[in-house]
């Protein structure tokens, strides 16, 4: 026994290191903080409150960048405004003719971004609207430019958004021109990647990418970005498609939460089908 105690005392630093590393791996296996439920809501509320207290302090670098982005956006919008006026008239006539169902109009909740958490591969933003303003977990967040992300945590007055630039984000999407479906993901660069597009499918640089009706989380037809590069890869059936996001995440300050929550019945059915498929595979 004394020899054992002497051994432990002698190697206590290594034993402690080993024990702490095991505990860290155990924590990591829990996954993201979103699984800590109520505790996270308290942290989100506290952090959001602190960030909102100091949100009045201007950030000159961000303001300069935002100013430049707004000027560019203004120019683009003035050109597109004229085009869209013509398109609206044409669209209304065509809809009437084809008797297409009108898109559902969802309510929008305006919110200010009061904080951003930047941990290179997991980017989140905190907004100053929460449960009491009607924000719910699972709602999508947009700006006038396009899709920003998904609400993953809500307290009474604040909510945390998982941005598109987050390694956990996966969005069912499609090419607006050719209606080719794929999945948008982020791999740590300044751009998004459109995955699962076979080489034979029609995708070209300049194509707009929008959310697909296949998505159970996001409303369809929200702009995600524009294809900037299509590369043929050796030893792969698929193409590598680079998408420039429509939203400038570096200067994100005002957003809208879309009052759209995924259809619970659809999610339940998809989940049941997936579980059934897994069970059949195991048999």
């Amino acid at each position: 026994m004394q020899r054992f105690i002497a051994f432990v005392v002698r190697f206590k630093n290594y034993i402690t290191l080993g024990a702490l590393v095991v505990i860290c791996f155990a924590f990591m296996s829990f996954g993201s903080l979103s699984q800590l439920g109520g505790f996270r809501a308290v942290i989100v509320g506290s952090v959001g409150w602190m960030q909102s207290m100091f949100s009045w302090i201007p950030n000159p670098v961000a303001l300069k960048s935002e100013n430049l982005a707004l000027r560019e956006l203004n120019m683009q919008l003035s050109v597109e405004s004229a085009k869209s006026r013509q398109s609206m008239v044409e669209n209304a006539t065509l809809r009437k003719m084809l008797d297409l169902p009108k898109y559902s109009d969802y309510g929008l909740i305006a919110a200010d971004v009061v904080g951003k958490t930047t941990t290179q591969l997991r980017n989140y933003a905190t907004i100053n609207k929460g449960k009491k303003d009607g924000v719910e977990e699972g709602m999508s967040v947009v700006t006038d430019a396009g899709l920003v992300g998904l609400v993953i945590g809500v307290s009474d007055h604040y909510a945390v958004i998982q941005l598109m630039l987050n390694r956990d984000t996966r969005v069912a999407s499609k090419i607006q021109r050719s209606r080719v479906d794929g999945i948008i993901a982020w791999e740590g660069e300044n751009f998004l990647t459109l995955k699962n597009i076979p080489k034979s499918y029609d995708v070209q640089a300049g194509d707009a990418v929008i959310t697909s009706s296949f998505s159970s989380r996001f409303p369809s037809n929200i702009v995600i970005g524009r294809v900037t590069q299509v590369t043929e890869e050796n030893n792969s059936l698929f193409r590598r498609i680079v998408v420039d996001p429509a939203v400038n995440f570096a200067t994100l300050e005002q957003v809208f939460v879309v009052e759209f929550v995924a259809d619970a019945e659809r999610l339940l059915l998809e989940q049941q089908s997936e579980e059934g498929s897994k069970q059949r595979t195991h048999r």
């Binding site: 402690t16 290191l17 791996f25 990591m28 993201s32 904080g115 290179q120």
Partner: protein, 178 residues
């Protein structure tokens, strides 16, 4: 502190380890609040200095490897919680960084170590290992090159942390009682 003419009995902390540990805890909380609320103002291409890593290295150099590892673990967990990162990722990196920093612990010579350029070298070494571990675990599941990503973010974060470590080094250097 005495240089700032603030009535502060340093010996009270030196003679009372529990009080010192409470002080470390309070400083860690303050640094994590500073990280979440204010560091965005000094971010360069989304790279920010890791203040809690500097504190961890400091504690390991003052208290030794054993206490340093617990400090690294606790500050890592705190960082994971306030930054909504995966729980345990920073704790792992900071525990190992503290273990490494503990090898530079010399009983009775901590002020000399922290108040000199050696502190910066230790922070750079520990920061490098910390970021190597941290980015390894989170780049691994992705289809991107780890060396490239580490060279971009890991090295930049390490260097920025080293620059931030100049401030505690100068403060301790000024308060040295040779």
């Amino acid at each position: 502190m005495s240089a700032l003419n603030i009535p502060f009995d340093k010996s009270m902390f030196q003679a009372n380890p529990p009080l010192r540990f409470v002080a470390y805890g309070v400083i860690a909380m303050l640094l994590s609040v500073i990280h979440v609320v204010f560091l965005r103002f000094v971010a360069v291409s989304s790279v920010t200095p890791d203040l809690l890593l500097i504190l961890t290295v400091y504690i390991a150099l003052v208290e030794g490897q054993f206490v340093g590892m617990f400090a690294g673990f606790a500050s890592g967990i705190l960082f994971d919680v306030v930054s909504t990162d995966v729980l345990g990722s920073n704790a792992l990196a900071k525990t190992v960084a503290a273990f490494l920093a503990g090898y530079f612990f010399k009983q009775g010579f901590s002020v000399q170590t922290i108040g000199s350029y050696r502190f910066l070298l230790i922070v750079t070494l520990c920061g490098g290992v910390h970021n190597l571990l941290y980015f390894f675990f989170y780049v691994k599941p992705l289809q991107i090159s780890f060396p490239m990503f580490f060279m971009t973010y890991g090295v930049a974060t390490t260097l920025y942390t080293t620059v931030a470590a100049v401030f505690p080094m100068l403060i301790v250097n000024r308060s040295k009682e040779w």
